[in-house]
Symmetry: C2
Subunit: 353 residues, 2 copies
């Protein structure tokens, strides 16, 4: 059952929209706690929603100094988006949709293309033309119809206006959040101790999913409280600075990040859901600039981890956070650097090659 | 303990060479079965050899028609070589080596570079200049010293002659085989039923590792017999056709595969170990050509799996095998396609983009 977090309206998971018919708020999946046995973590994502898989999830969680690195870039298409795309494709099958529409800075488009291919559903992806060439090529490689527009925000608007299929944009799709939630369940299942989690915020699905997961785990009696969640944004693309304290990790004057291509979104349908949560569980939001990202990227490669620049932004943020907290800090490394390396890129080359 | 499979000489794991001092045969790790409890699969790879990790292994095994697809391309640096590189780097730490030397068509060099970086060991990698640009760039990105030569075979010779560090080439390194063996242990641990396994053979480490794993599992009483193992080679690079029946899956006249870049090795130090095993457990060797590889690659992308061309060769072989066996066929998809996509490549484009 999908539920509006604002007015409480409930609809079936095969409902064709992602926002509430009454008040326009993006919907969320409502867990039926009466059907779940005590401490049965697995059932927080109902099995009947898992119809399509490419082996996503159960990613490694490795120790490095005081960090717990969650290697989300080892999902099938190279990013954490695969978890959400798997459940979204499942919803398309349940509802019988023939064509779906997505907008993306790259990774979510790749994931949606791959899982739609697996499900036998046609897909059209809108993306900014200046997304990394490797990402755009992958979207096409999976057989999706790729439409490039000028910016990430324009991609969102164009996808919303496309009437040739059902819009399943991860920025609003309720089941996408459930895929992200699974990361919280895995972190708790690992039995490893941690005090804080840093999470990249573009459309905020990971941030929302982690919060929803921890909140449900509290309700289920598995954990006592929701851990500290710290949003990470890119210079020039912060949405949260008007809601909570914002700390800049070396943003240049008027800097708009180029390296953090996965974080360059400003139209965020779930923004006030994110802001409300951030006020509850975040001491501040961290905004990271390209120089800091480049250095962090070099460091991650120097310990053998081929991640994408946007993930290095999150690691850089975690290093800041680790100075303020005494416990372990969880760092989701969300995207693979393998999509980048073969492409000569002056800026990237300066740090890496 | 390392042991010569030919003359029986035993040496410690910190022994600086990989071949027998008496007869020149590449060594293998000898499992001490007296120290292992009944059916204790995990102990077949001694814990004290696992000193370096980036979260390799435990890759997904997904069902697709009658295939069990083992997604080895989801290892940290995008290939199954990570399993071997992890144990090899551990041996370097145990033995106290400061600099190691590797030769590779790409993936093993990437893996060795990443795990050496993690272990804090210097590394020099020899590779053919015509390896995919993305692979060569990754080797450098992890901080390795990259030396390019004309062919894969020349890379092997040059690495052997380099006296500036300890040669740990995966083509002979005993612990590399142990990493490959782990795949056999995971397949049996999965409890899924299968009748045959196809395995790419370049230096043959996967083929040897799978066999060694299944043989030890038989000895441990976990399984009754070694499953059928079918080698897969690339047109123009077959080493096994003189030892057993060879079936060509559309090799053109004098074709030398370009797409299967990971299979282009002809100098194989462990060749007679491989041939001996193949005569025991393989009905034939399959040799695959670029047209067949390209079609198989397109098919794998069409179900959402971004693998490299050499892995598509193995899938093409599995389709042939599935017609001859009634049970499930295991297909290790060994390498990631993400290392390729951003690079325009006329031949690859014809099939994929």
């Amino acid at each position: 059952m999908l539920k509006c977090p604002k007015c409480g309206l409930e609809v079936d998971v095969s409902f064709i929209k992602h926002t509430c018919s009454k008040c326009g708020e993006p919907l969320l999946l409502e867990v039926d706690f009466e059907k779940i046995a005590e401490r049965d973590i697995e059932s927080l994502i109902p099995g009947e929603l898992k119809k399509v898989t490419l082996g996503e999830g159960r990613t490694p969680l490795i120790d490095y100094r005081r960090f717990l690195l969650k290697l989300e870039f080892l999902n099938p298409t190279g990013s954490f988006k695969d978890r959400g795309a798997a459940l979204t494709a499942s919803r398309a099958l349940i509802a019988g949709w023939k064509t779906v529409i997505e907008d993306s800075s790259g990774n979510a488009g790749i994931a949606t293309a791959a899982y739609s291919a697996r499900a036998g559903v046609k897909v059209k992806v809108y993306a900014p033309a200046d997304a990394p060439a490797g990402k755009l090529r992958l979207i096409r490689a999976f057989g999706a119809e790729l439409k490039t527009v000028r910016t990430r925000d324009e991609a969102h608007k164009a996808a919303l206006n496309d009437q040739s299929g059902v819009y399943v944009g991860h920025v609003v799709e309720p089941l996408f959040i459930e895929g992200m939630k699974d990361i919280a369940l895995e972190l708790v299942n690992s039995k490893k101790r941690f005090e804080a989690i840093v999470a990249p915020v573009a459309s905020g699905t990971l941030f929302l999913g982690l919060y929803k997961g921890f909140k449900e785990l509290v309700k289920l009696g598995v954990i006592d409280e929701i851990p500290t969640l710290i949003p990470v944004e890119a210079c020039g693309y912060t949405k949260l600075s008007k809601y909570l304290k914002s700390i800049s990790l070396t943003c240049g004057e008027n800097e708009r990040s180029i390296l953090a291509d996965a974080l360059r979104l400003t139209i965020v349908p779930r923004l006030h859901q994110i802001a409300e949560i951030a006020r509850e569980v975040s001491p501040y939001t961290l905004t990271v600039g390209d120089e800091t990202i480049g250095e962090a990227l070099r460091e991650l490669y120097s310990i053998g981890l081929p991640v994408e620049p946007s993930s290095a932004a999150v690691y850089a943020a975690a290093k800041y956070v680790a100075k303020e907290f005494s416990g372990n800090v969880v760092v989701p490394l969300t995207g693979s650097g393998l999509k980048y390396v073969p492409m000569p890129n002056e800026l990237l080359d300066r740090y890496l090659f």
